[in-house]
Amino acid sequence: MSEAALPEPVTAALARRGILSWISTTDHKRIGILYMCTAIGFFFTAGVMALLIRAQLAVPNQSIVTSHQYAQLFTLHGTAMIFFFVVPFAFGLANFLVPLQIGAPDMAFPRLNAFSYWIFLFGALLVMSGAATNGGAAATGWYAYAPLSGIKISAGLGQDLWIIGLLMASISSILTAINMVTTVFIYRAPGMTMWRIPIFTWEIVATSLMVLMAFPSLAADLSMLLIDRHFGGHFFDPAAGGSPVLYQHLFWFFGHPEVYIMILPYFGVITEIVSTFSRKPVFGYTGMVLSAFAIAGLSMGVWAHHMFTTGAVSDPFFSAVSFLIAVPTGIKFFNWIGTMWRGSIAFTTPMLFAIGFLLNFLIGGITGVMVASPPIDFHAEDSYFLVSHFHYVLGGGSLFAIFAAIFFWFPKVFGIKLNEAWGKTCFVLEFVGFNLTFFPMYFLGVMGMPRRVYTYPNLPGWGLLNSLATLGAAIMAVGVILFIANVVASVRRREPVGDDPWGGFTLEWATSSPPPEHNFDWLPPIRSERPTFDYHHPELGKESAR
């Protein structure tokens, strides 16, 4: 179709270029790209901080940074990775994909969507700008426990910027969740019943519900902390009748669901990729959906397993509910294996990262079940065992799924495919580097090395295991550099790959790459959860009708 033949709004949209067009955009795809690029920017920033941390810990009695600088580094690293990378990337991907997957022309509230992005960006910049203040950035960890984060101990401006920035990021997440749920419930294309929407979209619905339940608790907690610091409040001041344990309750009522907010969208990513490259429909579609909601529901009732050692919570209750989460998670693993079983598996880069995700997340998940048991948790609390556990879940899990998602949907977003050979090399470097970094930390934890220490004595085994971890981090960094080179080279080469290079099943693969501003010039009939597959293979389509 020539440009002259396009309807007016489309030609106007194509003509828009420059920064102003990005500032004023309300197109869900552009907002999705903004989210994802911003998130990757924060990933690089937090990654450099991680390298500094590993350099400091490479050998015993090292002094590259001071203890206060080290505390700022791990605080900003954790905050950026959690709040400004893993969650926003998921929301960016959802922004781009959800309307496409359900056949909608945009999100339900496009302007609210744009506002959500900008408030997130400014919040994130405020948090990071703390590093430029006189007293330095916040240095109280990503959870900023009171009274450590109170005005008496942490009087610096950096802590205030951290609180205000996260408050803005919370508002952004809540508004985005409202937008997602409304879009999926109201804006589905004709025939796209709820039991036909792709698993990724289902996972976003479950995630959004969790955000709506959990983030208000964080917003309340941060507001109370701000009132304590500047407006004469005593919510968390025990001397005036306040309770630091209240801060922990409110924080972890958000904080543990947050772990699943960071992983459920990526369960969706992995499901889409495993199904596409096994050339099979998702095994146990209904089980996948119900297990997502089971995980979401149960995760709202496990917050105080982070507080076992306070002695102020019921160990049996939180331990039992934490164990229960392993059941729906196990169902997901069973279904992923069932999807691959006897499939015609193609070991592309996205599929390799998906398999890497399964292996890493399994290790992180099993050690999670271990620390759900109070006797083990009492031993492992505040040790490197926990550092390794949550990095296996969020690094080996979410990060690998993010790489998988980038390689899988890059052709849809930009119309260009990333180089497969470089991608596979990147996977090998990331997989080897990641396991070399974090597996030794399990042993360090069992040996008793505490977390958040900026240096350590030369105790037997500690130096060697820490050196291995630093070597692993360096290998991961090389993998990331190769990934950047891959993106730059592929974008320069600009080889068009067509609308559906992977033979995808879901609706986003039915439109052009990149999609037009209004998303679809046409829609195939939707009679199953694989409408694009049905359209391309009408002789087989009825088999998967739901």
Binding site: P9, A12, A13, S21, I23, S24, T25, T26, D27, I102, D106, P110, R111, N113, A114, F115, W118, I119, L121, F122, L126, D160, I164, L167, M168, I171, F185, I186, Y187, R188, A189, P190, G191, M192, T193, M194, L212, M213, S217, H230, L246, H249, L250, F253, F293, G297, M300, G301, W303, V313, S314, P316, F317, V321, E517, H518, W522, P525, I526, R527
Partner: protein, 126 residues
């Protein structure tokens, strides 16, 4: 919308059930309140859908829905661009900073938020 009601209602029942179980296991107030509020919020959404949206007939809810049902002007129009979301976000950021560090700046930012909202609403009118 049946699935929407079912989803919110079953989640609300779960919220109330776990709040009750939590209370009788721990007798701890904060967590019971948080879980109870969660159940209430979810039941509120379910109730809203039942009361306000029961007449809703969505093409996406019908298995045999055809694309023609969602064609034409009646599906609505979309804002292709607007600078006000950016403006409101800038003003909200300054408002929060002003509220803590500089009250006059906070008041000015509050007025800016209102002005941007007004302009956004004016822009939204057909």
């Amino acid at each position: 919308m049946k699935i929407g009601v079912r989803l919110f209602l079953s989640s609300a029942i779960f919220g109330f059930a776990i709040a009750i179980a939590y209370w009788f296991t721990t007798y701890e107030v904060t967590g019971t309140l948080l879980l109870g509020i969660m159940g209430f919020a979810l039941s509120f959404v379910a109730g809203y859908i039942v009361v306000a949206e029961r007449e809703a007939r969505l093409a996406g809810d019908r298995k045999d829905g055809t694309n023609a049902e969602a064609a034409g002007e009646r599906v609505g129009t979309y804002a292709l661009r607007s600078k006000w979301p950016f403006g409101i976000a800038v003003a909200v950021a300054i408002l929060l900073l002003g509220a803590v560090f500089n009250a006059p700046l906070g008041i000015a930012a509050f007025l800016a938020v209102l002005a941007c909202l007004g302009l956004l609403i004016r822009e939204s009118r057909p």
